[in-house]
């Protein structure tokens, strides 16, 4: 709790003028359940991250009223969608009101002629696509949290999609949205002011400003999305290699092939194979000379995917790949849409099984720098593991960001034994995150391709990455949120309210 009980009563009384009783939640369970996220969470300090209350608005106007009240009373506001993010965007750092948007989950319009739909941002992509499938359409924003992530969270994170090389990522797929500013004003942002416009050169490109801000610049409430025909055919071959270098070369060649139906290629390194060989039924029986894996994914009409698929199969064969078979290929790919449902465990250094939660640290890294970053990241996590059994290296993968193979979402998966976390282990983790981010920057990369970079550790290096641009971030924040009520404590933006000489 960061505000007194009397102030909570004052806030609740004000909110009850604009919301029903069932839309204002103050119980302990309601607050605890809206505090944490699936990323490793300092459970020993859970109580430090509690909101004072949560609200469940059902319209843009109700969100605006809530934010207006919070701004008047100087109470922090934290937007929360699926709560599946991996950089703590939805975690309250200074208490206040969590705005849970799940009730804003309606499909307002499906425009078949213009191939768009307009939805409340509390809708989940899986549920949306069940409805769109009736019309032969799909909204292809496909995170690893696909069954539980919500459209609004994807906007707040500027999310990354598994099949983004084919269809684009969230920034490309969201055409426009209604947005509540930190002062409670409602604006509409898109290309120009268009709701269904995919390209405009009119004015600043505000849509991008209001995506990926991790809830620090307001709350998206209703979005218009770009739709595609639901694919007729899917192909997802997985290949084994006896060395990383050939797998790396193959991945690059697949991405550079310029195949129109190409939706992505993934490179799994030796550590990832070792992890899978331990616990994944598809890889436990693989021979020991399997040391790296590659997969490619294609979507489209069957008469497009078949010839293009042959091209990719030939490229893989020419790089020394061994096709892993239809069952592993199809099954492993299908499982990647839903990584959050996978029960996980790690190992102590003695080999005993322990319950662990999964975390992946990500970055955007150019193709030519992947091997060096891979080596240096594993060294960082090896240092962690030497110090504590709380951490386990679950390997790395690199996943094409786009259709040309320039850069890759690069992730290292780390198992964390949350029940054993204490201040010492948490500090080790935060330091390691800072080191991982430092490696990314030293190789010309970006700290995050997918998750955002506002967590403890990595966030310290955001000013280094953005340079003068970080000062612009501070200026924008102070201008749009004069009272610092919107998700305070994130992205070092509290510096925007310090005297100018103290901001660097």
């Amino acid at each position: 709790m960061t505000i007194t009980a009397e102030r909570v009563d004052e806030v609740v009384a004000a909110l009850r003028h604009v919301l029903r009783a069932d839309q204002v939640l103050t119980s302990k369970a309601d607050r605890y359940n809206r505090a944490r996220v699936p990323a490793p969470f300092p459970v020993h300090r859970w109580a430090d991250r509690l909101p004072d209350l949560a609200v469940l608005p059902e319209s843009t106007e109700e969100v605006a009223e809530v934010v207006r009240i919070a701004n008047q009373l100087r109470i922090p506001v934290v937007p929360r969608d699926g709560g599946t993010g991996l950089t703590d965007g939805a975690v309250p750092l200074h208490g206040g009101i969590v705005v849970d948007v799940k009730r804003m989950n309606k499909i307002h319009e499906i425009d078949l002629a213009n191939r768009t739909c307009t939805v409340g941002t509390g809708i989940n992509m899986l549920k949306l696509n069940e409805e769109l499938a009736r019309h032969g359409l799909i909204y292809p924003d496909d995170p690893a949290s696909y069954p539980c992530a919500l459209v609004g969270g994807r906007i707040g994170t500027s999310g990354w999609s598994l099949i983004g090389a084919r269809y684009g990522h969230t920034r490309d797929l969201v055409l426009s949205f209604d947005h509540v500013l930190p002062t409670g004003e409602i604006i509409h942002v898109g290309d120009g002011i268009g709701r269904k416009i995919t390209k405009s050169s009119s004015g600043y490109q505000l849509k991008h400003l209001f995506m990926g801000h991790q809830g620090t610049l307001g709350i998206a409430t209703r979005a218009t999305l770009k739709l595609f025909p639901k694919p007729e055919a899917e192909l997802s071959p997985f290949w084994a290699f006896d060395n990383y270098d050939d797998a790396y070369a193959c991945t690059g060649a697949l991405a550079r092939a310029g195949v129109a139906t190409f939706a992505g290629a993934v490179l799994f390194d030796e550590h990832k194979v070792a992890y899978l060989r331990r616990d994944d039924e598809a890889y436990i029986p693989q021979p020991k000379d399997v040391r790296a894996l590659v997969c490619a994914v294609m979507y489209g009409y069957e008469d497009e995917v078949r010839p293009a698929g042959r091209r990719l199969m030939r490229i893989a064969r020419d790089h020394g790949a061994r096709y892993l078979g239809d069952e592993i290929s199809a099954g492993d790919w299908a499982a990647r849409h839903d990584r959050y449902a996978t029960p996980l465990h790690g190992r102590t250094k003695a080999g005993q099984v322990v319950p662990m939660s999964w975390h992946c640290e990500d970055a955007s890294i150019n193709y030519t720098n992947l091997p060096a970053v891979t080596r240096e990241w594993h060294a960082v996590v090896a240092g962690l593991r030497r110090k504590s059994d709380v951490f386990d290296d679950w390997g790395m993968f690199a996943y094409t960001n786009g259709s040309t193979g320039a850069d890759y979402l690069t992730e290292i998966d780390v198992g964390i034994w949350e029940q054993q976390l204490d201040d010492r282990a948490w500090e080790l983790w935060v330091r390691a995150k800072r080191d991982l981010a430092g490696v990314s920057l030293s190789h010309g990369g970006s700290i995050s391709a997918c998750h955002g970079s506002c967590r403890e550790g990595e966030v310290d290096l955001v000013p280094d990455e953005l340079g003068r641009g970080f000062q612009v971030m501070l200026d924008v924040k102070r201008t749009l949120d004069p009272n610092n009520i919107m998700n305070p404590g994130k992205y070092l933006l509290d510096r925007a309210y310090e005297p100018p000489e103290a901001r660097t």
């Binding site: 694919p231 050939d246 060649a253 039924e281 078949r306 490229i315 064969r317 290929s329």
Partner: protein, 108 residues
């Protein structure tokens, strides 16, 4: 229900076979962590056979559902491998072969 599934034989899976240094198998494709590695922090649970098989089937159902959710049909790599050696399918100069891996050209 009068079926015998609750009784002893349903709690006796096929004899385990070692498949790696850290895993065993019982039913076909049913892999388990070596019980020696689950003695301290996480203890291995006993499942009736029908539940083990149900969990495996549910997993397959889930994956099938996900395929159908994203595309009408799945093309398998084995179908394409069979045609790789067909005339006209080789020696395509546009293919990025290992012998012609790109390098970075720095212009003066």
């Amino acid at each position: 229900m009068s079926g015998p599934y609750r009784y002893d034989e349903q709690h006796t899976p096929p004899a385990p076979e070692r498949v790696s240094e850290v895993a065993i198998t019982t039913f076909e494709h049913a892999f388990e962590v070596d019980p020696r590695l689950m003695q301290q922090w996480v203890l291995q649970q006993t499942f009736p056979n029908w539940d083990t098989l149900r969990i495996m089937s549910s997993r397959h159902d889930h994956l099938e559902w996900m395929h159908a959710h994203f595309a009408t049909k799945v093309i398998h790599g084995s179908e394409l491998l069979a045609g790789l050696e067909e005339p006209g399918d080789l020696d395509d100069p546009s293919v990025d072969s290992p012998a012609a891996r790109p390098t970075r050209e720095v212009l003066p």
